[in-house]
Subunit: 286 residues, 2 copies
């Protein structure tokens, strides 16, 4: 379905587009922000997808991550999807900040009453990117990488590992790395996917990296603050992901950064390193 | 009065302190954010004051301006004051988004019922900086510059011009440049200062620059977006300030930037240039 533009904002010599469309996957109206940098060459512009964490809309990272500054510097576009359907009008979807609205968990739900709308996995990796490629013909949706924060870090890792060869590179800020074994994951997977743990594994980066066989094995970059409350509560567990990655040739570079929390103050500090990481795999720098 | 620390957040290798204190000037509790960059040398760290616009708290610019990224790069601290007293409990102070709470206009009120609390001019330029110098003994409050956005851009220009030699340099993002002749200024000056236009002049950058005689005449840097709604409505009028500055030897460099609006997307785009401008006058770069 085609997009309507709700705002067009100039920033860093590029443009932030705020768009809305009717999604056939979530059967709701969905919003998405896309930052397009100024054109540097006649080549199409590569794309970085940024998946946000719990409670976020496309606006939080657009306003607070500072990623667009480096997108202009290196020459890639950014897609900021929403984190769940909104307005599906399912009883209970607004009851909890860490489940339902704002917490789609980037899965395709298989249970009632969620399976009709809560299909953020297919929405992000299939419908949205396909539709955006038709809308933004100057962007190169074949040269694309993915990153994200917290729940979105999980979504980025999962999306990379489940779609071998689609994303040139992946990185994550404080990702929920082993959702099958943490309270957030148990709550969301239990509700969206039911009791079958084999289904949970299909969205668990720590499970998926053991199974990954594709030749595209870029280094996976992760930053995790040591003063992050959710890290201390073992919601994130990046060490489990690293342990499971022994067979992954590209390697996982986990940076435990002293004293940083879970907020956009943490993200904006390390976004430069992630932007540079992706710029390399997107062919923008050596 | 001494400060209590309500949060201490690591960002860009430095620390953002969220502080609160009881102000003797506003006779209310006041909040302020201070970003301290990592120490680069044994010298005390210079300071840049950032005055925010209508409706803002100290948090908006702390989260959205990205000034701290460049503060770490160049080695200056940032002080983000609040924009008005809060909780003065004056009838009518919360009725309007552009007057009262969140809109102190950086003046010392002379009218009832405002003059007991609404003294943001003296609060910022006298009490706050004096008290912060006692609290942060590693910061150099004698090597200090000032900037701001919209109402805060006016506050920065006014503070610089009314305190000759105090601030090494000044800059502004979309400042209210001639408040005596625009709707926002008429509303706020009328309420806080009464009908005497001579009092209004004492807070009007376009009046004050004509009177300025001090030898400290750094170039004044201003950015203004051409798609800024308030610029189009003639609330800002930077051209009036430029016209009035013919006797100012440092000159005013007004950059009209095509297509930018009044938001933090505009500020964050040009904050790099302003940071560099101040770093030069603060003796941090050539």
């Amino acid at each position: 379905m085609s997009f309507t533009t709700t705002a067009e904002i100039k920033q860093f010599q590029g443009t932030l587009y705020k768009l809305a469309h009717e999604s056939t996957t979530t059967k709701t109206k969905m919003e998405v922000n896309v930052f397009v940098p100024p054109t540097k060459s006649s080549k199409k512009t590569p794309v970085l997808v940024y998946l946000s964490g719990l409670t976020c809309t496309p606006n939080n990272a657009s306003e607070k991550s500072f990623l667009a500054y480096f997108a202009t510097k290196y020459g890639f576009a950014i897609v900021f999807p929403d984190t769940s359907p909104r307005g599906a009008n399912i009883a209970g979807e607004d009851d909890s900040w860490d489940f339902g609205t704002g917490a789609g968990f980037y899965v395709d739900a298989t249970t009632e009453p969620w399976k009709n709308n809560y299909n953020m996995y297919s929405y992000v990796h299939k419908e949205l990117l396909t539709e955006l490629a038709k809308h933004f013909t100057d962007l190169d949706f074949k040269t694309i990488s993915i990153t994200g924060h917290s729940m979105g870090g999980m979504g980025a890792l999962t999306g990379f590992l489940k779609n071998p060869g689609t994303y040139k590179s992946v990185s994550a800020f404080a990702p929920i790395s082993n959702p099958s074994t943490c309270p957030w994951g148990e709550k969301n997977f239990g509700n969206y996917l039911g009791e079958d743990k084999e289904q949970w594994n299909q969205y668990d980066p720590t499970y998926l990296i053991k199974e990954y066989k594709h030749e595209n094995q870029p280094t996976i970059l992760i930053h995790q603050g040591t003063d992050d409350t959710f890290y201390k509560q073992k919601q994130l567990q990046p060490e489990n992901f690293v342990e499971a990655s022994t067979g992954y040739k590209g390697g996982v570079k986990l940076n435990l950064v002293d004293g940083y929390d879970h907020s956009y103050f943490f993200i904006s500090t390390f976004v430069e390193e992630h932007a540079k990481h992706h710029a390399k795999y997107l062919g923008l720098i050596e």
